[in-house]
């Protein structure tokens, strides 16, 4: 009996130690992190917290997610997008993530050479663990910079083979519905589908609420905003 108790204490200690140091301590540390208000420059060039006149802070770093963006994040999680997509840019000393042209802010020759690695505060924006499981698809931390319009994003989700025929991303047609065109012509939200994918004449494909929320969420994924916890000089450079 006594030996058994010693054995159990041994099991508890060997397990409890890493449990405490790997999970509990960092959780407690990180729960002290809070979003920071974003400063604006007033007419004298002084930094002030941006307010809307009624005392409410206008914008936070990171921009907090709410409403349909949160709904979209939930759909992102439930649909298993994280099975193929990550949302973290690792430190350039470890991995090349931040030099990947396709994962950075803008995909053109004027784009900054290096994307900022994501930090703990960035993830305060959402409510779910979105760091990701695999990278079969690309990193989505900054995906919004790469899409000019919601329409384009919708087409990507409806069937990624429209943009890239060899894509292995699954089509999410079930997030869209086909309906009869009514009254005064097709809806503005209807997808511009051509070829095989085009609906029968007289019909149109429009996003459901879920698809709209998902796109709201994705179109808000931009991580190159300035970080108010850093010195102002660095801000100017990052611009």
């Amino acid at each position: 009996m006594n030996k058994f108790r010693v054995f159990l204490v041994g099991l508890a200690l060997t397990f409890g130690l890493p449990w405490f140091f790997l999970l509990i301590v960092p959780t407690l540390q990180m729960s002290r992190l809070a979003p920071l208000p974003v400063y604006e420059l007033d007419e004298n060039g002084q930094k002030v917290i941006g307010e809307d006149g009624k005392g409410n802070i206008v914008s936070y770093y990171p921009p907090l997610s709410s409403g349909s963006k949160t709904k979209g994040e939930e759909i992102y999680v439930r649909e298993g997008c994280a099975q193929c997509h990550s949302q973290l840019i690792r430190d350039p000393r470890v991995a090349m993530d931040s030099y990947k042209r396709e994962w950075g802010s803008v995909f053109d020759s004027m784009a900054p050479l290096q994307t900022r690695p994501t930090n703990q505060r960035d993830y305060l924006a959402g409510h779910y663990p979105v760091l990701g499981i695999r990278r079969l698809g690309g990193d989505l931390s900054n995906v919004a910079y790469r899409y000019g319009s919601r329409e384009q994003m919708h087409l990507m989700i409806y069937d990624s083979r429209i943009a890239q025929p060899s894509s292995i991303m699954p089509p999410y047609r079930f997030l869209y519905k086909t309906r009869k065109i009514e009254g005064n012509g097709p809806s503005v939200r209807a997808l511009a589908l051509t070829g095989d994918l085009a609906p029968e004449p007289g019909y149109e494909v429009i996003p459901t609420g879920d698809a709209e929320a998902l796109v709201d969420y994705l179109m808000a994924l931009k991580k190159n905003y300035t970080d108010p916890s850093k010195p102002v000089v660095a801000d100017a450079e990052a611009k």
Binding site: K3, F4, F7, G10, L11, A12, T14, F15, L17, P18, W19, F21, L22, L23, P26, T27, M30, S31, L33, V77, R78, E79, G80, C81, Q83, S86, L88, R90, D91, R93, V94, A95, M96, R101, E102, W103, P117, N119, Q120, Y123, L124, Y128, P129, V130, L131, G132, I133, R134, R135, L136, G137, G138, Q164, S167, I168, P170, P171, Y172, R173, F174
Partner: protein
């Protein structure tokens, strides 16, 4: 726990009373063990099918892509598959084998199977709801934790009941010393509820920042493998190998070393997945080193197993149990080696299919193979007839073995390639996906030929045993006719009385 504790009772040389006692214990465990084995095997069948679909979908999303089958997309089938495999098959077969070994080694008859059966039903309910929930689009974004939010309390309660039962069984054991296999089972019973509760509290209940939720998920997966599947798998090998070879474990000291390093190191692993990410760098570094330290138990256990079987390696040819168990023991070494490899080259292999390779090596190459071995030993004793066909056992073993090696190594190599092409800053994501694509096609090939085929054979064979279509004899089903017994060794493998 003194050094005699490693002396496993020599089943084949026991007295008549010993035989009767063992038969009585086996009878008493029949109901729960058959229940967990049968539901485990049913989930094995389901998950292998889901696995085939997931595997093909991963490189050809157009496969089975009708509008009404939209829910079968990779983002849902993959988690449905892996969770059905882990919680449906691996867990239940592990529990069945643990119950049986615990009763045997404690030498007590199981008095009241009701707790176990109720817990088993609850567990199956949880897994079914979870898998259906994922397919219905209610999944979650952490590996092995994709079940919808409402499932975890069910699984937690069910598992805790089983744990308590296991510890009670251990406490009422007849000998005051404990066997190595029992340490591992008690440890797994003690750790898993803690691991599971922590992960789910952090993810679903407490207001923890998103980064720490991801960290908890990675830690959970790693701890589940190193502190649940590894102990249960090793419990089986520590029981089966001495039993069949008919000698005690080679070294008590080495068993101690292996056990306490696994205990001390296992829970430190996991966070290396986010090397260079937003977690404190120190933690990811510690986790990576811990994964490398898992090579210590590999050496200790390797020597111990090898020396125990030494001189009797010929038995591997004849005894199905020993063959599967020995192969599983190799799988344990490969698991830890690949774990260490992925930790060392983490910046390349994280987030690639090399991690799937690690999952399949630990869950199939190591754990499932160990469990198949145990089932070939246990089931005849429980249902009272012998396995019908040697050919079927062979048809299960070889494709499984080739499939396990092929799948694991193929994915790891593919993961390295994928990682390298993801690292190339000027190449596009789609080209990296294309690089891994060719490996994914190979993976589908292995799934649909080797793994699917061998498990169809196994499931059929298992069903025949359940319906008592086995051979009614006291001669065990061996994989050959041992002409010359090694050193006059009687094969302990089989014979419903042994």
């Amino acid at each position: 726990m003194t050094s005699e504790s490693t002396v496993v009772n020599q089943s084949n040389t026991g007295t008549v009373e010993d035989h009767l006692e063992r038969a009585a214990i086996d009878r008493s465990t029949r109901l729960p063990v058959v229940f967990f084995l049968t539901s485990g095997v049913a989930w094995l069948a389901v998950s292998i099918l889901l696995g085939v679909i997931a595997s093909i979908k991963q490189h050809s999303p157009g496969f089975l892509d009708w509008d009404w089958l939209g829910f079968l997309n990779f983002g849902r089938v993959q988690p449905a598959f892996i969770n059905a495999f882990v919680y449906g098959w691996c867990f239940q077969v592990g529990i069945a084998v643990a119950i049986w070994i615990m009763a045997r080694l404690s030498r007590v008859e199981l008095k009241n199977p009701v707790t176990l059966i109720v817990a088993g039903h609850l567990w199956n309910l949880g897994v079914s709801l979870g898998v259906l929930g994922i397919l219905a689009g209610q999944g979650y974004s952490l590996e092995f934790l994709e079940f919808p939010k409402f499932v975890w309390p069910l699984l937690f309660v069910a598992y805790s009941a089983i744990s308590i039962w296991m510890v009670v069984m251990f406490q009422v054991r007849k000998r005051s010393d404990a066997y190595v296999a029992q340490w591992y089972i008690v440890a797994a019973c003690f750790w898993f509820p803690w691991i599971y509760l922590t992960a789910n509290m952090m993810i679903h209940v407490l207001p923890v920042p998103g980064v720490m939720k991801s960290a908890a998920g990675a830690w959970y997966k790693s701890s589940l493998i190193y502190l649940f599947f590894v102990p249960i798998g090793l419990a089986s090998s520590y029981f089966m190998i001495p039993k069949i070879v008919g000698r005690s474990i080679y070294s008590y000291g080495l068993s101690m070393v292996a056990f306490w390093t696994i205990a001390g190191v296992g829970a430190w692993t996991g966070l290396q997945k986010f090397l260079g990410g937003p977690l404190p760098p120190l933690l990811t570094a510690i986790s990576g080193s811990a994964a490398i330290l898992m090579l210590i138990p590999v050496v200790a256990i390797g020597i111990n197993h090898f020396m125990t079987v030494r001189g009797h390696h010929g038995l591997i040819q004849y005894s199905p149990t020993l063959r599967f168990t020995f192969f599983g023991a190799i799988g344990f070494s490969v698991t830890c080696l690949v774990g260490a490899f992925n930790a060392i080259f983490g910046s390349t292999t994280s987030f690639t299919i090399a991690e799937d390779g690690f999952n399949m090596i630990s869950l199939y190459f190591f754990f499932s193979m160990m469990m198949f071995g145990a089932i070939y030993f246990i089931l005849p004793r429980i249902v009272g007839c012998e396995w019908l066909s040697r050919r079927m056992i062979q048809l299960h073993f070889w494709p499984s073995a080739y499939g396990a090696i092929g799948l694991g190594l193929w994915l790891v190599v593919g993961g390295i390639w994928q990682g390298i092409s993801l690292e190339a800053w000027d190449s596009s994501t789609i080209s990296a996906a294309g690089t891994s694509g060719s490996f994914l096609v190979g993976k589908s090939f292995i799934w649909t030929t080797f793994i699917l085929f061998s498990n169809v054979v196994f499931v059929l064979h298992f069903l025949m045993m359940l319906f008592r279509l086995g051979r009614r004899t006291h001669e065990p089903t061996l994989l050959g006719h041992p002409q010359v017994h090694h050193a006059g060794q009687q094969l302990a493998d089989g014979g419903a009385g042994a």
